[in-house]
Subunit: 342 residues, 2 copies
């Protein structure tokens, strides 16, 4: 219960009858110390319940063993899952994770970067590549290695993620293959969100290749909630001619759409097909189960950790690691109705 003064290196050194340098070496490079001494030191460490002070260590060694992550929000299964794996992997390397959230705002992301930089993070995990050049420049100036995750970025920088565009195109092709010609899309908000933008691009390009121009492919952008998905779906269904397949930018929107369909008395996939993206838990639980794209966020989190650690220790690294995705065909995609509503 008594609040002991925290023991310092000095205390340990005195207790073990050695210099502080030797204690430090025992902790950081045990091979440099002869076994007998080391043992004596370790006993003192144990006895005093010594744990090194982070501040002192950071100051002296210019390293923090801390990695930062700035994500839009943890309250979104895809980030939570990826982050969890990332953290576990880091932990295995003895690194600690500092978390901040940007709420999808580049300005807030920048602020958090400064916080992280001030904290002396050895490396930084960011989401995607859509950010002001000034933010990137800031990190470069500071010499902080960083990584864009969740998608594959542009010309330079390091990335580990998914080819959202190709995946969306692949899914669209499956939809087209079922015979659908009247497609529509409920996209996530694409501004400053390259995942959402890429997915939209993917759908558009595949449609284009099938001779369906952008003018024939209504797209509504919707925020990340069931309600927004439902609302957008309602709008699309009010159009004439009515789309026979609605591709959604993520599973949450798709589930919202699905609920709205039920509400409108439309059968899925009898009257209209719906697809999602991400394959979060939800996707397998709704009825019918969602046809979607599986995006293995946990594998990505791990790969990101490995990559960042290499980057931090100046080991050679591939510039981008693509984590493969996979279309999961379940119940919400079928052929278009024989007599679509004009």
């Amino acid at each position: 219960m008594s609040e002991l003064a925290k023991p310092t290196l000095d205390d340990v050194a005195r207790a073990a009858g050695v210099s502080t340098a030797t204690v430090s070496r025992c902790l950081n490079a045990p091979d440099l110390v002869i076994a007998a001494t080391r043992e004596r030191v370790m006993q003192a460490v144990e006895a005093l319940g010594y744990t090194p002070d982070f501040g002192g260590r950071a100051l002296a060694s210019r390293r923090t063993n801390t990695v930062g992550a700035i994500i839009p929000t943890m309250d979104n299964a895809i980030f939570a899952r990826g982050l969890q794996s990332f953290q576990e992997a880091l932990s295995r390397f003895g690194k600690t994770l500092l978390v901040a959230s940007s709420g999808y705002s580049p300005a807030r992301e920048r602020e958090q970067m400064e916080v992280m930089a001030g904290r002396g993070v050895d490396g930084l995990l960011l989401i995607g590549s859509a950010r002001p050049e000034a933010s990137v420049e800031f990190l470069r100036r500071r010499g902080i290695p960083f990584l864009g995750a969740w998608n594959l970025g542009g010309e330079d920088g390091y990335f580990v993620g998914f080819d959202n565009r190709a995946a969306a195109a692949g899914l669209t092709e499956k939809v087209l293959a079922k015979g659908h010609r009247r497609l529509a899309m409920i996209a996530g908000i694409t501004e400053m969100n390259d995942r959402a933008a890429d997915r939209m691009e993917g759908v558009r390009s595949a449609a284009e290749r099938a001779g369906i121009g952008a003018d024939q492919l209504p797209v509504i952008e919707a925020a990340y909630t069931f309600d927004d998905g439902a609302r957008a779906f309602g709008e699309l269904m009010a159009r004439s001619p009515r789309p026979t397949a609605v591709l959604c930018g993520n599973d949450v929107l798709a589930v919202g759409a699905l609920q709205k369909a039920r509400e409108l008395g439309l059968r899925v996939p009898g009257d209209v097909s719906i697809t999602g993206f991400d394959d979060i838990d939800l996707a397998g639980v709704v009825d019918p189960k969602l046809t979607t794209v599986r995006v293995p966020h946990n594998r990505m989190g791990e790969a990101a950790a490995e990559m960042l650690i290499k980057l931090m220790s100046k080991q050679p690294v591939e510039r981008r690691i693509e984590i493969p995705t996979e279309v999961v065909e379940r119940g919400t995609l079928g052929p278009p109705p024989a007599d679509p509503v004009a």
Copy 2:
């Protein structure tokens, strides 16, 4: 692009023509510095792109403005949501969040405590109160203020959370009020998880009060997956007499149960009622929608941040803050069938 040497307090002081002390004061206690000087200093800060070094600051001030959280996993909506709110609230107070996960293991939690202590966190968020006394003692010795969240603990310590036991009892009473007498429960794993244990206790005690003894209330503990919920539900349905209502320790288990019910050709709630706990997104999406207990994790996260900050600054604090929960009646609870299966 060039990797500039990070500017130090000294650089700023020189640029502004003042002492380092004055610069430090500008940053930490601006009132102590006359406006003109302050302005000059701030300009220098701006011009050099100075950000204070965390290590130096921590070392000199014996404070880190860092708060740790050790949670079982972020990959669980209830923790992710709470943690997100916690982090946002902390951020408003200028604190940064260090995250570690225990994977539900007390040993691993203890390890992470030591990591956090080494990092000099000013305070620590833990989950629940089920942990070895030695772990608690460790934090006390170190003088690290800490908080149990997500449920209300025992004799001493600070808590912000839910009365899981009372909430479970309340839900059980609603089930009983529908006329059910043959209850069963699929609980979460209760070992070292007081939330799961409390929920089980709540159900048991309410049943007891209604004259249903523990021997008449089959309970299966299941891990946190759909499959485990489904499996447990299958086992319960094979019993004779068959339960008419299955109370689940969380929504994930309940959804698993629901799926299994469909698979078995049982109507919900016609043949059997099912209830969940937590009211995560899932609950409103399945068909029929889940009757469950709403547990406002975001409010809890915020309350936890406020409480911990008070604790850290030695302000007076209530020992426990209870966040109210609420039964949400939706589609999966109905009266028992007229002719239950013996």
